[in-house]
Symmetry: C2
Subunit: 277 residues, 2 copies
């Protein structure tokens, strides 16, 4: 019988540590971290993340500054605003909710965020630094995944990690982080031949493709560690890419959805805001 890899509890423990740390900073009259959270319009579907991030920050005592901007904001106005936040000493981190409305150049605008405040790694320079192994903010979901894996005590070095999905915010950066931990890393995607055969080789399997339940036990090696990043709403229920009940017995560790990667992601935002590793 495999083990549930419980992100909810791990995340709660990390948030407790952060609460205590902030409490201490307050007592010592030191600077408290703060988040500037930018959302544009209502069509991007990011209102949920925006609200969750703000509420998680406030619960641990991190200050938040919400910038809710009009759907039709001009590119230059937005860039000027981000530049002001870059200079603003009361702001430690900046998040921009994506996707942006179509008239705005996402890469250009995200890359205006100072890499010193880019707590979700949106700037392409942050991505380049991650890619090259330079010091930088690590995007929250990939960072949370590595912490989840490490929490099991399973050694990453030399192991074969297979990542399904190649998005810029999950699949590609998590592959780079696993490589930096000395795993052999295979990147698969919708165009991969022999997906089943390759997944079956994985000691560590990270699934981030947004196809509910596609990964069953036929894709999983005995005693593998399985991380499910899928979050599709099916019949009103948050559903992962992994068929948890089918996989949990063959894998050594499996993350549930919800309660696996999700809580780690928002918690890593707090970790980044506090400047922790």
């Amino acid at each position: 019988m495999g083990t549930k890899l419980d992100g909810k509890t791990l995340a709660a423990n990390i948030r407790n540590d952060i609460s205590e740390k902030i409490e201490k900073l307050k007592k010592e009259n030191k600077k408290i971290p703060s988040l500037a959270n930018i959302i544009i319009g209502e069509d991007g579907g990011s209102r949920f993340y925006f609200n969750t991030q703000n509420s998680v920050c406030e619960k641990v005592g991190i200050k938040t500054k919400s910038l809710e901007l009009e759907e039709n904001i001009q590119e230059e106005t937005l860039i000027d605003l981000i530049k002001q936040l870059n200079e603003d000493k009361s702001v430690s981190g900046i998040i921009l909710q994506l996707p942006l409305p179509k008239h705005l150049d996402e890469n250009k605008i995200a890359s205006t965020i100072s890499i010193k405040k880019d707590v979700d790694g949106l700037n392409s320079l942050s991505s380049g630094k991650l890619f090259k192994g330079e010091d930088c903010f690590v995007p929250c979901t990939p960072k949370g995944i590595i912490k989840l894996i490490k929490s099991t005590g399973v050694e990453i070095q030399g192991k074969h990690a297979v990542v399904i999905g190649r998005s810029n915010i999950v699949g590609k950066p998590v592959a780079q982080l696993l490589l930096a931990e000395n795993a052999t890393v295979t990147m698969c995607h919708s165009k991969s031949d022999n997906l089943k055969e390759i997944c079956k080789m994985a000691d560590i399997l990270v699934v981030a493709i947004g196809r509910p339940g596609i990964i069953n036990k036929e894709y999983v090696k005995k005693n593998a560690l399985v991380i499910d990043v899928g979050t599709t709403v099916v019949n009103g229920k948050l559903t992962g890419d992994v068929d948890y009940n089918d996989v949990v017995d063959i894998a050594a560790y499996t993350t549930p959805v919800p309660g696996g990667v999700g809580p780690m992601t928002t918690t890593m935002l707090l970790v980044n805001l506090c400047g922790d590793n």
Copy 2:
């Protein structure tokens, strides 16, 4: 009997096309591309590349500006110089020979090169753009490798490509480029377990580890395409990572050393200077 994948001839053909293009630009009194090539001191072992790049440029009619600087140059002086070259309209591309002397911060200085002139992709922002699939200069060696593979007509999409070696200038970017071509990509390195087993799965095998002759036919699947990026001098002779004579019969295509990737690398510098894909 497999085929020699002849980079020397392919590169010569591309250089001929570029010569003709430059000739035409001259006749039409249009702007000729030019390279600013910076070398610092003599200890980095890059004098050979510096000379080769300049001579290849000059042969096709691309102008070169050599900046041979003192070993003990101050960081600020060098950064100011690069900023001047960024602004200089007579310069289309800038190359900085690496490694730099130890008192200089390589990442910081390389990232001063404007991404509009960063013809070898040294700036971390260029790396980030490559990583995210944004428009950018592609570093010369990885770009040359993709051109070599494509020259065979072998389809990349869906195939399993295995890259051995994870340097920032070859292994990591070539893995990203193969991924962008819809290959399934595995990144291996010195810490990988089961290297032989994984290599044996590769439809496309790219070897860039600098261990002369380590890859023999036991690592190669029948009819694979094998790219050898190794360039170690052994008994005065340039030697690849692949045991060519052992591998050539089992593989469908194998690059020789010398005459494979090497000539493509310098030629891709010309392609980048001309702004071609």
